[in-house]
């Protein structure tokens, strides 16, 4: 750590670690912040949400990126080490269900259909079994690893319980593999973050999701207004209260983060916060500052 | 072709076997002159081919050997006579080993080595393009200074040659036995043919290498200081063995030890290294002669100097 000074004169380090899904946001934030406070050294690590919290709750980092809310065991660890924290929602993500470009039949899937496919013990092997109107095309499934926050969120949202899923799908921590997988197999079906779909929109087709309120295509607007249900989710950062109090550069960075959140989200290609979320963000930060 | 088995079992000593004894050359003079009496004296060019001399099996004519351009041995001509022991002596670096290696194309294996002139075996040019060096080595075997048995069993060491050359042998066991008998090693190892060749003593290892060599039934055996790593007792055994082998094989031996040359050979070739006009040293054959004559009454002054320099 180090001492800060007036605006533009801060120095010292800000240590950010945690989820690799949220990392692009913090990286973008750091990148923009750097132009304002060039002497503050910010590092962003990608130990995963769990690894990030472990370090965070040991006081080894100042900010923890998280693709899911903090768990009880992690709360306990933080409490044990007397680390107070502030949870901030910094962006939204729309988990996107994608199929192959050549897939002409699946325009929209209901959550029930998704559950039928993805549920634990599911034996669905053909598109025909998903919906009798679909052709008898082999179904190839792609999704993130079972240890990821994305998986946790999707299984909770679709199958009703976290970690409840069929296991016989191609899992990868590298979303590019999932992109390639779906793009390369006619009967492919997969899910991952909206960004990866956007970057590869020419190779993939996004499926509309019907969560009970009709078919909605994933989009920034749909994710923001809550109509893309149930697959839109918030992304978090957790900030150490102690760090904010003792390291002015941490507070400065987090304030900057909150203050420039639209620009940051845009640079990281995520779904921006709604006005209400932004207000919440400001309020949470104010509360943390006391 | 003599029957190998018969030869190998023969223990009695042939009449022309040189006496195995060390003695000041003077004392031995008559004995020696008598023994190899039919071989005429050789001139410096080494053409010891008087009437009655056995035919040459290998013949060098104007042979020079180069190591990447350096002429290690210059213009050497000499015959190697059948069923005789020819010794090559001379100071270190005069090219004895080099010349020996030209005779079975072992110098093919030295990068940069080149031979000019003609080396012939029974009239055929050993370095002709159509000649297969592997065939050459099948007929002209070699034993080295340091015993170098393979890290295999004694049996496999001896059987190696027949196996790789695809030799037709009735029973390999018999064949191995004969070869070991031929090398006077059979009695010492017959109980442990399966044990490792490296477990033998130095002298036994060297005899194993000889057994291994005769197992492929070569016509000529080249030996490069075969006893220099051995103690006197082991040396004595190998020397004795050489005499027996000479009945069936043509032998060329390089040695540093003049007594040894005197003891075992019929002919001796003396090499030396001479500095030419450019200051470069080249090996050269000075004199090839009947052994008795060379050690007692050499034709060349340089031979005499070398020998007396040692013999006092």
């Amino acid at each position: 750590g180090g001492d800060g000074g007036a605006a533009g004169g801060l120095a010292g380090s800000v240590l950010v670690d945690g989820s690799s899904t949220v990392a692009p946001l913090s990286k973008a934030a750091a990148d923009i912040y750097r132009e304002e406070e060039p002497k503050v050294n910010i590092t962003v690590g990608t130990s995963g949400t769990g690894g990030g919290f472990e370090k965070f709750c040991k006081g080894e980092t100042d900010v923890s990126n998280a693709s899911r809310p903090i768990k009880d065991s992690e709360k306990a660890a933080c409490a044990a080490a007397n680390i107070g924290y502030t949870e901030l929602v910094v962006a939204n993500d729309a988990l996107t269900v994608v199929v192959n470009k050549a897939n002409t039949w699946a325009e929209c899937l209901t959550t029930a259909q998704l559950k039928k496919v993805w549920d634990q013990g599911s034996k669905v092997r053909s598109w025909k079994e998903v919906d009798p109107s679909f052709p008898d095309q082999r179904l190839d499934l792609f999704g993130p690893g079972t240890d990821s926050g994305t998986f946790d969120f999707f299984t909770a949202a679709v199958n009703g319980k976290e970690d409840r899923s069929r296991a016989d799908y191609t899992a990868s921590e590298n979303d590019n593999v999932l992109v390639q997988g779906v793009a390369g197999s006619t009967g492919g079906l997969g899910y991952f973050g909206f960004t990866y779909f956007e970057e590869n929109a020419d190779k993939l087709k996004a499926v509309k999701v019907d969560g009970g309120g009709g078919c909605v295509a994933p989009s920034v607007a749909a994710a923001q207004d809550g109509s893309y249900r149930p697959l839109s989710r918030p992304l978090y950062i957790y900030v150490s209260n102690q760090a904010m109090a003792s390291k002015p550069q941490v507070l400065s960075f987090v304030e900057f983060y909150a203050g420039h959140i639209d620009e940051i989200v845009e640079e990281a290609r995520y779904v921006p916060l709604t006005a209400a979320q932004k207000a919440e963000l400001g309020a949470a930060l104010d509360k943390a500052k006391g | 072709m003599g029957d190998l088995q018969e030869g190998l079992d023969m223990i009695s000593i042939a009449s022309d076997r040189p006496t195995v004894r060390i003695a000041a050359p003077g004392a031995d003079r008559t004995d020696r002159a008598d023994r190899a009496g039919h071989a005429a004296a050789a001139g410096p060019a080494g053409s010891a081919d008087g009437p009655g001399a056995p035919p040459a099996v290998v013949e060098l004519a104007g042979v020079s050997v180069f190591y990447s351009g350096y002429e290690a041995v210059r213009e050497t001509s000499m015959p190697i006579r059948q069923h005789r022991v020819t010794a090559l002596i001379g100071p270190s670096g005069c090219g004895k080993s080099t010349i020996l290696r030209t005779m079975n194309r072992m110098n093919d294996l030295i990068p940069g080595a080149r031979v000019t002139g003609r080396v012939s075996y029974r009239g055929q040019d050993l370095y002709a393009p159509e000649v297969d060096p592997i065939e050459v080595r099948r007929r002209i075997g070699m034993v080295f200074q340091k015993p170098n048995p393979f890290p295999k069993s004694i049996y496999d060491n001896v059987a190696y040659g027949p196996r790789v050359t695809g030799m037709k042998v009735g029973s390999m066991d018999d064949h191995v036995e004969q070869a070991l008998r031929g090398a006077a090693l059979w009695d010492e190892v017959k109980g442990k043919l399966r044990s490792n060749g490296l477990a033998l003593s130095g002298g036994q290892q060297q005899r194993l290498c000889i057994a291994r060599t005769i197992a492929v039934r070569p016509e000529v055996i080249l030996m490069d200081e075969p006893c220099s790593a051995l103690d006197p007792i082991a040396t004595g055994r190998i020397e004795e063995l050489m005499h027996e082998l000479a009945q069936h094989y043509t032998i060329v031996i390089v040695t540093h030890n003049m007594q040894q040359a005197a003891r075992v050979s019929h002919y001796t070739a003396f090499f030396t290294a001479e500095v030419d006009a450019d200051g470069v040293r080249h090996g050269k054959l000075v004199e090839l002669n009947d052994t008795g004559k060379l050690f007692t009454d050499p034709d060349d002054k340089r031979t005499e100097d070398y020998i007396t320099g040692r013999f006092g």
Partner: protein, 302 residues
Amino acid sequence: MSLRRGRRRPGERVIEALLVAAAAVSVATTIGIVVALVEPTVEFFAEVGVVEFLTGDRWTPTLDPRSYGVLPLLTSTVISTFIAVAIAIPLGLGSAIYLAEYASPRTRRALKPLLEVLAGIPTVVYGFFALFALNSVLRGIWPGSDQPDFQNILVASIVMGIMIVPTVASLSEDAMTAVPESLRAGAYALASSKMQVAVRVVLPAAVSGIVASFVLGLSRAIGETMIVTIAGGLSSDHIELNPLRAAATMTAFIANIGQGDVPVDSLDYRSIFAVGSLLFGFTFALNALSIRLVRRFREVYE
């Protein structure tokens, strides 16, 4: 004219102490590894039975229903290692024989270090190469229903095999060059052809070094992480015997959980230490075995 220590030689003592200390670092490393593994492993086995761990055929610590049978990871590790070694040994040994017995010393001096580059290439690079370059070729060769998965054990193993080639080649070549020239000369003088010299004399004489190189290659394959993580896949819910399918090896599992979102203070996370301990024990046993093996060959040939 005393022969007692004239000058004290304290320097010698200090140096010796220093040397012992340096050698002790390796012991400390092993102790450190054991310490790092033991506590979480013990905690893991407080909740999961050893028998279940060793015999269960489903490994789903982050998936409902939870199951902690390590056999799927073990199987994929064994299969991938086997394939990698099956590629590396012939290629490596062939290269070694060529370099040691056929290539000129100049060629050897130039080619060997170049070959060693293969051993130094970051495994991350190999991983992406396997995934994006080699796999497209493989999938092109096998179109149709048994087309390889997007991540599969085969592609990861092939690339691991290539990575290990220099390990095998370099050490085997060293062992063969160390075979005294006199043995070769002896064999040539017995009318051996070049191949006979190489195969019947040099190879057997170098066997202990060659076996050692195989073992080292083997342990590199078992321990290789990034290639299998990137290109091999993650699934471990059943024992997968088909190398064309995706499957997680022990190392891939550890690396994935290690950077995943699982809470650290959980059974899910502690499972990596159990797998780590197994992996450590596995390589330990393998090394012990290999040392035996090498020693046995050495006894025969020296």
